[in-house]
Structures are given as structure tokens and as C-alpha cells.
Symmetry: C2
Subunit: 216 residues, 2 copies
DNA sequence: GAAAAGATTATTCGTTTGAATAAATTTGAG
DNA sequence: CTCAAATTTATTCAAACGAATAATCTTTTC
């Protein structure tokens, strides 16, 4: 029964990567994290039970205790996983293009951000779920993941989009909100307006709409 | 033990309004609904326990069963209460002014919507919390409260702001998102940017920012 | 002022939850 | 092949949950 891997003795066994055992361990762990990410995103931290996560991952609840210790730690692992995946894809998209027209360049970056928001509604769900209460999870989320990413985006907005320091929070949250909400409440949008926001052409229309909104 | 008032016999007792008893009943009920509104908004449906609500309302949990029956019914009562309050104030604000400059008229309406979003973050929280899962609560929320309000806003956007039918979902969710997110995640905004979005001057700045965004 | 009905509190019930522990199984090292 | 360690499953525990019921207190009616 190993609860904390950091306490493992530094034996020759530790560098046995790729063995059947450590492969299985990672696979199982990954399956749990994946299920946790889905559940936490869709139903929030409190709305998710560790048993449901285990079932969805096709395993036993005890494995969560074994691999992660607590529900809180599993939530952190799920967030880590999300941001790891996000980190690469988001910044691969932004600021890559160097079109002649600077404004069109900025617009395309915003379009990419909207496409990203459609692909990863979890990001927005997490932000809203945890951002409204000043607790320990929010602290961790900000210092570990949000601040570094915010700084990059802030740089981009200041230098490439030409916004002022004072405007920063307003641009950031207005853009994030305008880009993401429609995808975050997709079922509501479908039922309320009859339009499915996750259809390709609707995503593109929203991308263009928001891009032209912010860079007229 | 009265579980369902509609089943009460239609005696002369029913019109005893303003008596000490019925006054107390309404006061208690209102206190519970108020506490429920706060809790459901801040911690979501699943993150809220009926015991906590009762305690916060300064009463016993049994009273929730007595007055509302189930947690679900209490949630509906809380939502009713929120929308009742919102309904009046929101539409009092919109489309009231008739300035000479039509664009400035539209901008001021949007500013009012942003001020409203700062005052009632619950609206946004509810929308995101319930809008991401297609369940019975979402059905009820849409048919009972969202659709009528959406129709009014849609009219306003089509006729006053000059948007097209196709653009409607995009305008609606982009505006709602841009206007509300910064207030919905106020603790995060404070910690991440150092700016408190609920300060009067920040609200006004955001109002102006979003207004100029949408009506350039 | 007494009896009935209404409102409130206290207690209880069956489930579910997060977590811990025990038992069983699988794997790798010697 | 064997045995210890790692992993997985099964079981158990105390606490919290929504809900129901019982008991108590208050108000109204006659």
C-alpha cells in the first residue's frame, strides 16, 4: 500500500520504466484522471463522487485513494491534466501567424481563441466553478496554472493588440466571456435558440463575430 | 403537517391574510428562500445542503420539508425569487432612454446591462451551472424564465440594435459573457489581476468598455 | 379559555459520500 | 520457481445527506 510515492526508497527499481507493471499503473492512473476531468468539468467539484469517477473509469474506488489519496488531490491531478493539454494547443495557435495586415493577424488570433473555447469548454467551466469562491482550490489554481498563462496573454494584448494596462482585466474577461459562454452552455443555447453552437459552421460564425467585435 | 397547500379545503380561513400567523409563515418562508438563493448561487445545486440553508436562515431543516417539500422544489422557489427580482429591474433599465443619438442610446442600454450583471452575478452563475447539462432543471428554467426574457432581449437586439436573425445567438451570448464573466469570477479577478471588479469605478469602466465594444 | 389547526423543533431513517483498511491478485527480482 | 512488493478488489467506517416522522409550541376559532 503506497500512499505517497515521494516516500519510496530510491532503489534500482524506480527507473524500471516501460515495464508491464509501471505501464499498467500509468494507464490506470490516466484512465482515472480522464474520467475525473470529465466529471469535475460537467458536474463540478461537489457534484462529482469518487465512486462515479471510478465506475466511469472502469475500476474500483479504492484505486483513487491508492493513486491520489484524496478527492482534492484527484481534482488537482485532473486540472493539471487539462492545463497540460491546453497549454500546448493554445499557444501553438496564438501569435503564430505573421500576415501583412496586422489587424487581420489579431483577428485570426482571436478566432483561434474562440475555436479553442469550443474545443475545451472545461476551461471555462473550471474558471467559473472555482473562480467565484476564494478558497484553497482557487489559490492553487491561480498560482499553478492561471497566472503564468494570464501573463502570456497579457503580454500579447499589451504588445500585439495595443491595449493599455488599465484595460487589461476588461479585455481579458470580456474576450474570455464573449468567446466561451455560448459553448459552455451549449445545451441551453440549443434549447433556447434552436442553434447548436458546436456545429462547425456555428463555431466559425462565432469566431468571426467575436473577432470583428474586438478588432473592428 | 401541511405538505401541499393546494389541497387545503376552501374554507373561510384561507383569506386570513395579514394575520400574525400567515405573516410569520411568509417571513420564514422568505428567509429560507433568500438563504437558498445565496447558497445555490455561490455553491451550486449539488454543493448546497438543505441543512446549511436552514442554519443560514436561522431555522430548522424540517421547515424546508414543511414549506417546500424537496430540495428541488426549494431550488425552483429560489430561482423564481431571483427572476422575479431581476425581471423588474432589468427591463426598467433597458430601452427606457430616448436620446437623440441612437448609437449612444444603444450604448447606454448595454452599460445598464453590465451594471445589472455586476449587481446580480447569480444570474450568470445559474445560467452556467444549469446550462451545461440537459436535465429537467434546465427544461424548467428555460420554459419558465429564460425564454420569455430571451424573447424580449431578442426583439431589442433585432429592432433597436439592428442585428440579423442569424447573428442573434452570437450577440446574445457574446454580450452576456463579455458583460458578466468579470463579476462572476470576482475573487479570481482580484487575485489574478489585482483589480477588484466590484468597485464602482471598475464597474463603470467595464460598462463603457463593453458598450464601446459592441457599439463601436 | 378550550379545542383544533398551523408552525416549528427534534428525532429518526435509509443512502450516499470520502476515506481507510483488509483481502486477494498480479508482477518483477533473485 | 519462489517470495516480496506492487497493484487491484472487496469490505468497512464514520460522517453528511435528503427526506420523513414524531413531538412540541403558537395561534386562531368558537
Amino acid at each position: 500500500m503506497v500512499r505517497d510515492q515521494s516516500k519510496l526508497k530510491n532503489t534500482k527499481r524506480e527507473n524500471a520504466k516501460g515495464t508491464t507493471r509501471s505501464k499498467k499503473r500509468e494507464e490506470t492512473s490516466a484512465r482515472i484522471v480522464q474520467a475525473a476531468r470529465q466529471s469535475f468539468a460537467k458536474r463540478g467539484f461537489h457534484g462529482t463522487s469518487t465512486r462515479d469517477i471510478a465506475t466511469e473509469a472502469g475500476t474500483n474506488q479504492g484505486l483513487i485513494t491508492y493513486h491520489f489519496g484524496t478527492k482534492d488531490a484527484l481534482w488537482r491531478a485532473a486540472a493539471d491534466n487539462l492545463f497540460e493539454e491546453i497549454g500546448g494547443r493554445l499557444f501553438d495557435r496564438l501569435a503564430l501567424r505573421q500576415l501583412a495586415d496586422e489587424r487581420e493577424n489579431a483577428r485570426e488570433s482571436i478566432r483561434e481563441f474562440v475555436r479553442f473555447s469550443a474545443e475545451y469548454p472545461e476551461f471555462f467551466w473550471l474558471m467559473v466553478d472555482e473562480g467565484k469562491n476564494a478558497d484553497e482550490r482557487l489559490d492553487w489554481l491561480i498560482t499553478t496554472h492561471l497566472r503564468p498563462r494570464f501573463n502570456v496573454l497579457a503580454d500579447y494584448m499589451l504588445n500585439e493588440l495595443g491595449y493599455s494596462q488599465t484595460d487589461l482585466p476588461h479585455v481579458y474577461y470580456a474576450l474570455a466571456g464573449a468567446a466561451s459562454l455560448i459553448f459552455a452552455v451549449a445545451p441551453e443555447c440549443r434549447q433556447l435558440t434552436g442553434v447548436d453552437p458546436l456545429k462547425k459552421e456555428v463555431i466559425e460564425r462565432h469566431a468571426d463575430f467575436v473577432a470583428r467585435l474586438i478588432v473592428a
